[in-house]
Amino acid sequence: MAVGLLNGPPLTVGRLAGRLARLLSLLVAVAIGTFVLLAASPIDPIEAYVGADSASIGTEQRDQIAERWGLDEPPLQRFTAWAGNVVTGDLGTSQVFNEPVIDVIADRFMASLSLLVLAWLLSGVLGFALGLLAGARRGTWLDRTLTWWAYTLASAPTFWIGLLLLYVFSVSLQWTPVCCAGPIGALPGEISLLDRLHHLILPALTLSVVGISPVLLHTRQSTIETLASDHVAFARSRGERLPGLVLHRVARNAAAPALMLQFAGVGELIGGAVLAEQVFTYPGLGQATTTAAMRQDIPLLLGIALFTAILVFIGNLLGDLAHRAVAPQTREQGGDASRSESRGELRDLAREQVTP
């Protein structure tokens, strides 16, 4: 999906409508796909809801719950009823939380937002800076170490990194708390900003790991390419030295692919949040997603799917705009040729990484 959107025509007022139509069709597809998957799921929502007591309730009570949730109707009817409500702005009620879906998402998203933003900034800034460093010092031990580290991170699962960090920093060193968004037992209003940050740092670090490697490796590659370009040779002939070259000539050239990648990675970030929040029992959107899936909370899961689809769409849109902002040469020529060229470049970069 991300690729399809990025390959789209350049953004002008006239094409905004096309983008919106694309978003709508995307949302419809996501809703149908999610619903089909859920309808085919073997988990019985009522059993998941009642939990261990399921043996103590009779079929009569079961039927009552089913009727109240509308589970006795055929899937197609349920879907059209839900879709009809969504069009009027009503996403339904979460069965697990017993609250309107929109409220659950808003609550949980606010909790996740600081985590996502911190992890996103961390991975972007670290990945970009280290990528510049590795590219500028290509072939040295520093470059080798950073590249090796990036490959290790890229192949390490998020939850495993999370457990590792938990073990080192929370259990052994006891620098960071083991779980949650605040001290256990404290009311949400009583948690200080410092406490919040203290509880945030380890999940954010874990989550940022998802995004560091691709940004680092792509930035390294474009740094190496830019350093070999004519305009850098010309700058060098004027007496410019390596730090000046990287700062004045390379950074902005390397920023364009890095920014695009970082924005296009919003989807992976949200995917990573599901795992990271689970490991750290962080009460965010990711944890709500797991809960909704495990307990067949269909309205909530559909709502979250739509919401994250919009987030990813916005991420891609911003990536396009950011790319345009730092690479002025792509602004005017616009057209499909230049776009596909820049995508092709990214593909080539990705391929070169496989054999460093």
Binding site: A233, A235, S237, R238, G239, E240, V326, E332
Partner: protein
């Protein structure tokens, strides 16, 4: 008329005197087998203030490496040997790096030498800062530099992709001449240009020399070199073959000492397109159609 490359013409020391320059590269082949290649084995030339010296040779003859060596820009795996003297004084890489951009300037002609993500103004200001201008002074220097090249100040706001070829070459010239260099190295300035642009570029080089600076024109297009140079140094496979005043390239080329230079001259369309049997490489490296325009 045979001349030694080291023949002193006037008593003042040359701006640049390169003697027996050799450049070798250490490379690692598959595995850890090390090998050394030496694309430049023995090049000598000198450039004096106010003259244009053309360094002529086929692609791969080591001309551009000489330019890079003079600017102290050889890659880390390259080892230079021989001597490069600046105003009579022996230099090392550090000294050459200090000269680069202040005393010695590279003058490229293709727009790929401008940073596509920075405005012309930003690049000129950075270049001015490198020549020692203050932050505030750089602005004024940048403005003056484009005006001196016959461009409007509004060019400063443009990005390289918005420039025409001619404007871009003027911007490159403005950047190269910012620090009032004593020596300008023009590396392959003319390939791919329309004839009238070639004339404009060569005329600009001539006027730089008339302004008192020395110009080293590195090219494989001998016709252009002959139109503007005072002396021509012919190199082949990394070594200097001969140095001749431009007048020696005339008639049948009998005043040229080396058979290679003679073959080079005779291979030009205007001189009969003749190719000596043992110099077919001349035709391969320096195509007639290149030379014609």
């Amino acid at each position: 008329m045979t001349t030694s490359p080291l023949r002193p013409v006037n008593p003042a020391p040359a701006l640049l005197a390169v003697e027996h320059l050799a450049v070798s590269f250490t490379q690692y082949e598959r595995g850890l087998r090390r090998r050394t290649v030496t694309p430049v084995t023995d090049i000598s030339l000198d450039v004096r203030a106010g003259e244009v010296v053309a360094l002529v040779g086929a692609s791969g003859a080591g001309k551009s490496l000489l330019g890079h060596a003079v600017l102290g820009m050889l890659p880390p795996n390259a080892t230079p040997a021989g001597s490069i003297r600046w105003r009579g004084e022996e230099t090392d890489v550090q000294a050459l790096r200090r000269l680069a951009g202040r005393e010695v300037a590279l003058l490229p002609q293709s727009l790929s030498h401008l940073d596509p993500t920075a405005s012309v103004g930003a690049q000129l200001r950075r270049a001015a800062r490198l020549t020692g201008a203050s932050r505030a002074g750089a602005r004024a220097v940048a403005r003056e530099a484009v005006v001196a090249q016959g461009l409007d100040e509004s060019v400063l706001k443009l990005y390289p992709h918005q420039l025409s070829g001619g404007m871009g070459r003027r911007v490159l010239t403005a950047i190269a001449l910012l620090g009032n260099p004593s020596l300008v190295i023009a590396d392959e300035p003319t390939p791919g240009l329309a004839p009238e642009s070639v004339t404009a570029v060569l005329r600009r080089l001539r006027s730089i020399a008339e302004g008192g600076a020395g110009v080293l024109l590195i090219t494989h297009e001998i016709t252009g070199a002959l139109a503007v140079a005072d002396r021509v140094v012919v190199v082949d496979r990394g070594r200097t073959l001969e140095e001749s005043p431009v007048e020696a390239f005339t008639a049948d080329g009998e005043r040229l000492a080396h058979p290679y230079s003679r073959a080079l001259w005779q291979a030009l369309p205007a001189n009969g397109f003749r190719m000596a049997d043992d110099h077919t490489r001349v035709g391969a490296g320096m195509r007639g159609e290149d030379l014609a325009c």
